[in-house]
Amino acid sequence: MQKFWSLLFLLVPIFSVAVFVIAPSQHWWLPDNVSSYGADVDHLFMVILWIVTIAFLGTQAILVYALFQFGERGGKAQFIHTNHKLEFWWTLIPAGILVFIAFYQFNTWLDIKAQKNFPKAQPDAEVLAGQFEWRIRYPGTDSIIGTEDDIISLNNLHVPVNEPFMIRLRSRDVLHSFFLPNLRVKQDAVPGMTIPVWFKPMKEGDFDLFCAELCGWGHYKMRGMLTVQSRAAYDQWLKDQEKEQAFTGLEQASTDGKAKQEVTQ
């Protein structure tokens, strides 16, 4: 019977590893990374994954084997209370590994979040989170956010490819969180704070923007889109938005009902 139990516990490492092995092929894995520092983040993820997998398999193997070998063994067990050498080493080695993992994260973390490392100081856009939308403002020709020539975009953040882009993140009501899965970007939008966030997309395309901090009933609805395009297309888009925003009803090519729609999927 103990064989049965140890086999039941063996299912754990088998199932766990199987899930992680199959996952990438089913596209149940990290979203495609298109950001400059995303590769670093993913690398750290993989390093930790390998280390914990080894620890996982080691401990699970010992567990399963112990149950198999010593289950219902009969007779008296080994009368031992401790082994100081063992305690010492299995304290020191994991401590060392953990300290290594911690320190190994520092550079990437500072690159992403420390303001002194930001590639630029001036924000390219302001993202104002609110129940339940992302209101994005570009500075317009006077390069100042908060003036009359600002360009407003709703839920659609356009950025030029291969250039660092900086946003100024704010909230107008409750907590939200600016989450770009494909760029490994996440930052809470805190009312009362203005938080700078930078990223550099390396590939053109449309990518998800999610809210990642519960903000009410519409939390799941608060979706946006990051559109990465060439610098030329980006500049053109800004010009188009400017035109649209100044539409007085008389210009050609009325964009009523069509301009803001971006077809996705």
Binding site: L154, W217, A246, F247, T248, K260, Q261, V263
Partner: protein, 361 residues
Amino acid sequence: MMKDQPLKTEVMRVNVRFLVGAVLIGTFVLNGCGPVPMTYVLSDATKKALDEPKQELLSNALDAYFGTPDAPKIPEPLKRVLKGDEAKLAEGATSYRRLCMHCHGLSGDGGGPTAKFVLPVPRDYRKGLFKFTSTDQTASPTRDDLKRTLLNGIPGTSMPSFALFKEQEVENILDYVILLSVRGLTEAFVVDELETGTGEIDAATVASNSTAVSNRWVGTETRVVTPKAQRTTPDVDSIERGRQLYLSDRAQCKKCHGPEGLGDGLMNDPNADPKDTKDSWGNQARPANLTVGVYRGGGRPIDLFRRIHSGIKGTPMPGQSTNLQKEEEIWDLVNYIKSLPFKESTAASSPGATAHGAGGQ
């Protein structure tokens, strides 16, 4: 040491009896599972006017004509108004239930479960009145008007943007919303005819009223308000002229919107109780705070022009097209209003003010 219990059989027998009991209870509980019937509800006004048997007659007649939530139909008069076929309409109904119903209600009555927790309240389509349109004061919206609302959302409210959904899905939902609106207004007209003795609850009455309602949606493109005059350059003079107009007795903007545009006009008026000022749906009308820089119907110059020219249907916001016959005057007003969020305001920190710093939001 750990031997099997001698009472094992008895315990197992009891356990089995309990399991059977649990299964029976479970079956009973499961009766709470399964599909819940979906039927359109009649409006409160209808329910007040008619007794139960007549209500049922009316519901059946409307269902026969317009279909049910599961199987909506396109009646003949609406064929010119809707874009898709009945299959697309059914998909629109499903999308509507997934995305819109929790606010706008199953019947488009603005009474979904979330509705009482959002301000302003979600639109009740059944009067056929829509606030933010491009058409003149007495016209129904164009289809594009509704599409703009779906795609842009209504900034400053809980109505989100649906621009990230497939265009076909948006079109299907539009069709369904129009259907709900037409159904609602047809219902109201039929009840009117019944009360004035000019009609019975039958298929013919429903059909004739539905035709009348559907016709309102036809040809709305011709009623779109397009200015002939170019927008005046928003220089200091134009803005000052606009300000004078704003404060004047002709336009009467400050009566509701307040002298600084904070939306506090009614609050500071000793003769007016803000709660008494209601819109067509019976809700308290709240004049907009114009210093915030967020415009529910859109902030383009043409949008503001249309708001001032034709008013906001269903609300006390009047159209100024008779008072301000010169389009240049409306443009001056537009220029003034667009300058307000960027003006230094003396009363910016009062409770009525919702500006989030200079430059609005």
